[in-house]
């Protein structure tokens, strides 16, 4: 194995140190550039040497991510980034393993791996670039495309119900879900850092604009005005307030209701207080996305950490089983070959 005996004092690294020598090939204006930038900003903050970081990806525009980072990287095959990363993490738990994946990669061809990875909970940082389209293959609809979206393969409009990534993550037993937006760099950076520090599979869904094939998919959350009215930023132990402090969310039983803070005489302490360890609240938040942000009563789209609750990771559980099996010593080579049912044939 590698020579890890002489660990040098880590030089202080900056974002630029994490840029590889390859020029990103994404289209100008593509949200992927912004995400890459925030990843490069976060990496130096983690204090992990570049040689101990690995980016694994599948196939898609977004899956080009590893090429642009000066860490270890593998660009795998379509849909299979998660099992590849899991195999790596399980065999090398000390590495910091990241996954870059798209909505098609993670939720369509890789859908099976998505749910199973989340329930196993290996310590991976999964960055899901959701542009609600297949970018690389030139604009076919994806499992997150909105109903009605017209694309080359849905000329009359999409008729399949899109996946709700948050609900799918939580339903699969995921231990961390957060949503961020490519345009809000500072916030994205903070979310990526939270994800990196979470031990277990952290799933960050990033609304990522594809100006070429699905431009404006997230328009409802981007312009200053829309953004205020249609989004709510989650902060631990803080009430859910949005629309520049004018509206809040009040929880009537299991029913989230938009209330006008000026008019209805409701104070912020009556509002829903965010608790990212509460799976029930996280599940309700996940379904805010079912609203289409088209009226005053519409629920805003939540951004931030919906749910974060650590539980044992797959690799730790396996390591513990191995340690237990070895508590009376590691099996020797001779023992392995002899087995426990060997017998002697004596000289005749």
């Amino acid at each position: 194995m590698t020579d890890n005996t002489t660990i040098p004092v880590l030089p202080v690294l900056i974002a630029k140190d994490f840029a590889s020598d390859q020029e990103p090939k994404w289209c100008p204006g593509c949200g992927d550039h912004a995400v890459l930038q925030q990843i490069k900003n976060v990496l130096p903050e983690l204090g992990i040497a570049p040689e101990n970081i690995v980016f694994v990806s599948g196939i898609g525009c977004s899956s080009r991510l590893p090429y642009y980072l000066a860490t270890y990287g593998v660009h795998g095959i379509h849909g299979r980034a998660l099992p590849m990363a899991t195999g790596l993490k399980v065999s090398r738990p000390e590495l910091s393993v990241w996954v870059g994946t798209g909505d098609g990669d993670a939720l369509s061809i890789g859908g099976n791996h998505f749910i199973h990875t989340l329930r196993r909970n290996p310590d991976l940082n999964v960055v899901l670039f959701n542009n609600e389209i297949y970018g690389l293959t030139k604009g076919q609809y994806s499992p997150t495309s909105k109903i009605g979206l017209r694309t080359v393969t849905s000329p009359s409009g999409v008729i399949d119900q899109p996946f709700n990534t948050a609900a799918l993550t939580l339903g699969s037993g995921g231990s961390f879900f957060a949503r961020a937006f490519d345009r809000d760099g500072k916030f994205l950076r903070s979310i990526l850092k939270r994800a990196a520090l979470h031990k277990g599979t952290s799933l960050v869904e990033i609304y990522q604009n594809c100006p070429i094939f699905n431009g404006g998919a997230f328009e409802a959350f981007s312009s200053a005005d829309n953004k205020a009215n249609n989004t709510v930023y989650l902060e631990q132990s803080k009430p859910l307030i949005f629309a520049r402090g004018k509206r809040g969310i009040w929880l009537d039983g299991f029913q989230p209701i938009v209330v006008d803070l000026d008019k209805e005489g409701i104070s912020s302490s009556d509002l829903w207080i965010h608790d990212e360890t509460d799976i029930n609240k996280a599940s309700i938040l996940a379904h805010f996305a079912d609203d289409h942000a088209d009226s005053e009563e519409s629920l805003p789209r939540p951004f931030g950490v919906f749910y974060a609750k650590e539980r044992i990771t797959y690799e730790d559980a396996l390591t513990a089983q191995i340690a237990d099996a070895q508590k009376n010593g590691i099996g020797t080579f001779e023992e392995l070959l002899r087995g426990d049912q060997s017998y002697e044939i004596k000289k005749a």
Binding site: Y72, V74, R80, M84, G87, G331
Partner: protein, 628 residues
């Protein structure tokens, strides 16, 4: 301790060279256990041995029916044996269905020990005998030596004071049979007693009852007049002194992977998804945590292989095991492993196909898939095991090639090898070939740039694993520029890389042993060229043909891609080449295509192994034709 093997009565003991026995009964009759225990006892005597279980595909087939018959066949001998026997000499039939299903494979004049309770009206009907017919009584078995034994009744009598419930007592009837067979073959009982005591450590009553049943069977043989004319048999031991263990092919694969990791100083990772008949490799390795083995039961075969590729990228000895349908799912990822140039061992335990086909039956029909079943130009080494013990050496060799040549390797076994067992003289670690991974050393900033796809003179790149300072690099499934590994769509570069990858595999021929002739003359009339599990049948058939004076030789291929360098020369030394395969003719295509010769094929696609008689007849036919 009483010496139970000593007869109280004078019964004639005849020495025999070899015997093949089938234990057959309903799935619930415990025949696998009986057969396994019998085999263990035989093995510890130092007798040559080969076993094969034959159980129904359904987990709970209706009791008493043909579909529910479970069998365990073994051949033991004073001479080396390579198969469980084309036909058996002795059959234990616990019920009518067991007899009906297996009678065709019993030698004329063979012995039948029939449990009479399994031949009541109900059982006869379930087995599909016509109304009123009972083979034990109607003389239809007059070509055989029939011993009807009220096994159940005798067991009940022996255990009536055991304190066990009647259900528990009935379940001991297989131990009665075991004891009877021990008597018949003058085998010792003590080893079985020890096993039973260990097995029922927490239930002394149960242990003692089982032991009593074994003894009852033994003494029944001794006391009854039934066997007076037949007498007892003795098969002289043959093995040289030393330490042995009995392994099935699947166990051997699992041990080999663990051993290869130990030898190479690597951690073993197996990503896998259960599938018959490959699953025991996963389950055996799951129990090897003491050796630091990590197994990962993935959500499907794709995740199985891809997780292994991830582990290989991280510097583990990575493997995945499967059977046909699973190998089909892995093909895209195999292409990735080829282009990444990472070591990976793929064990494919072949079964009857296509699709779900004959999931519990052996076939050699995945050779084409192993050789060509990938998109793009993606050659990789293919090797095949020829016996349960050879599964160890082949898997170990697959790991050696994978690690030393940085390539995925497919190791083919099949459902027959997977479940068959034979004694294996325990290897010493020192005797195993060295396996040397070539990890790239850490790099200092002032060192020349790291080139992930720079090759040595065998065209092999270095293994550059995460955690190594200064080697941070990005690789992937996209075509890469020679040496730098950067993405490249350059036309000439793609052609060059395709050739280099192929050349790397071809150059493996420089490091593998030359093909040998297993048996027979170096030049002659006929060469039987086999591969995989048909080794035993071909070996036995060729031996007999040689004894009969025919000019015939046997060569068995382990390395199918690349072929050993001298294969062409060998093939040129015979007037005719015969290639027996359990498929519709696959190796024959490859041989024809590679050497532009016209061998003769001999195929069997019945979900059962070759039997030596079929091959012997084919050999003699061909030679007679050559001579006429």
């Amino acid at each position: 301790m009483t010496d139970t093997t000593k007869s109280t009565r004078q019964v004639n003991v005849t020495s025999k060279t070899s015997v093949s026995v089938l234990f057959a009964g309903d799935s619930g009759d415990g025949m696998q256990l009986t057969g396994t225990q019998f085999a263990n006892t035989v093995a510890t005597q130092g007798t040559e041995l080969n076993t094969f279980p034959n159980f129904p595909s359904e987990i709970r087939a209706p009791a008493g029916t043909i579909a529910g018959v479970s069998g365990f066949q073994l051949q033991f001998s004073s001479k080396p044996v390579y198969t469980p026997g084309a036909r058996f000499d002795v059959m234990v039939a616990m019920n009518s269905a067991a007899l009906k299903a297996n009678l065709k494979d019993l030698h004329r004049g063979g012995i039948i020990i029939a449990g009479t309770e399994g031949f009541d009206e109900k059982n006869l009907k379930l087995a599909g005998y016509p109304e009123g017919a009972n083979p034990l009584e109607d003389g239809s078995l007059s070509n055989y030596i029939l011993f009807p034994v009220p096994i159940l009744q005798l067991t009940r009598e022996a255990l009536k004071e055991s304190g066990l419930s009647s259900k528990e007592i009935d379940r001991c009837k297989n131990m009665f049979v075991l004891g009877l067979l021990y008597w018949l073959y003058t085998l010792p009982l003590e080893g079985t007693f020890e096993t039973l005591r260990a097995k029922f450590q927490k239930n002394v009553h149960m242990a003692e009852a089982n032991i009593r049943a074994v003894k009852a069977g033994y003494f029944f043989g001794d006391e009854t007049e039934l066997f007076a004319n037949l007498g007892r048999f003795d098969i002289a031991p043959q093995k040289q002194h030393g330490t042995y263990r009995r392994v099935t092919g699947n166990e051997a694969c699992a041990i080999a992977l663990t051993a290869a990791a130990k030898k190479a100083g690597l951690k073993l990772f197996l990503g896998s998804y259960p599938i018959t008949p490959a699953t025991e490799i996963l389950s055996t390795l799951a129990k090897k945590k003491k050796y630091g083995v990590k197994t990962y039961q993935a959500e499907d075969e794709i995740a199985g292989i891809v997780s292994s590729i991830g582990a290989a990228y991280g510097g583990a000895l990575a493997a995945t095991n499967t059977s046909g349908p699973g190998l089909a799912l892995k093909t895209e990822a195999l292409g990735l492993a080829v282009i990444l140039e990472l070591p990976l061992v793929v064990i494919n335990v072949q079964r009857g196909g296509p699709s779900t086909g004959l999931p519990t039956k052996p076939e050699q029909s995945d050779l084409f898939m192993a050789m060509y079943g990938r998109h793009g130009e993606a050659p990789l080494p293919v090797i095949a095991a020829s016996s349960p013990v050879d599964c160890f050496y082949c898997t170990y060799e697959a790991a050696r090639i994978a690690v030393e040549h940085m390539t995925p390797v497919i190791c083919l076994t099949d459902g027959y090898l997977a479940l068959s067992s034979e004694p294996w003289k325990v290897e010493s670690p020192d005797n195993l070939a060295s396996i040397t991974p070539r990890f790239h050393a850490p790099r200092q900033p002032e060192d020349p740039p790291f080139l992930p796809y720079k090759r040595d003179d065998r065209q092999v790149r270095a293994w550059a694993i995460p955690g190594t300072r200064g080697l941070e690099h990005r690789i992937g499934g996209l075509e890469k520029q020679n040496e730098t590994g950067n993405v490249s769509h350059d036309p000439e570069n793609h052609e060059l890389m395709t050739q280099l990858r192929a050349q790397k595999i071809n150059q493996i021929a420089d490091t593998i042993p030359l093909q040998t002739i297993d048996n027979g003359p170096k030049k002659g009339d006929l060469l039987v060229l086999g591969w995989g599990s048909s080794y035993g049948a071909i070996k036995t058939a060729v031996e007999q043909a040689i004894e009969q004076g025919y000019s015939v030789a046997h060569a068995h291929l382990r390395y199918i891609h690349p072929f050993p360098k001298n294969l062409e020369e060998i093939l040129g030394n015979y007037k005719k080449i015969l290639i027996p395969e359990l498929n519709n003719g696959q190796l024959i295509h490859i041989i024809r295509d590679t050497f532009l010769i016209a061998p003769e094929g001999f195929t069997k696609i019945q979900g059962v192994p070759f039997n030596e008689m079929e091959i012997l007849i084919k050999i003699t036919d061909i030679i007679k034709e050559l001579q006429s």
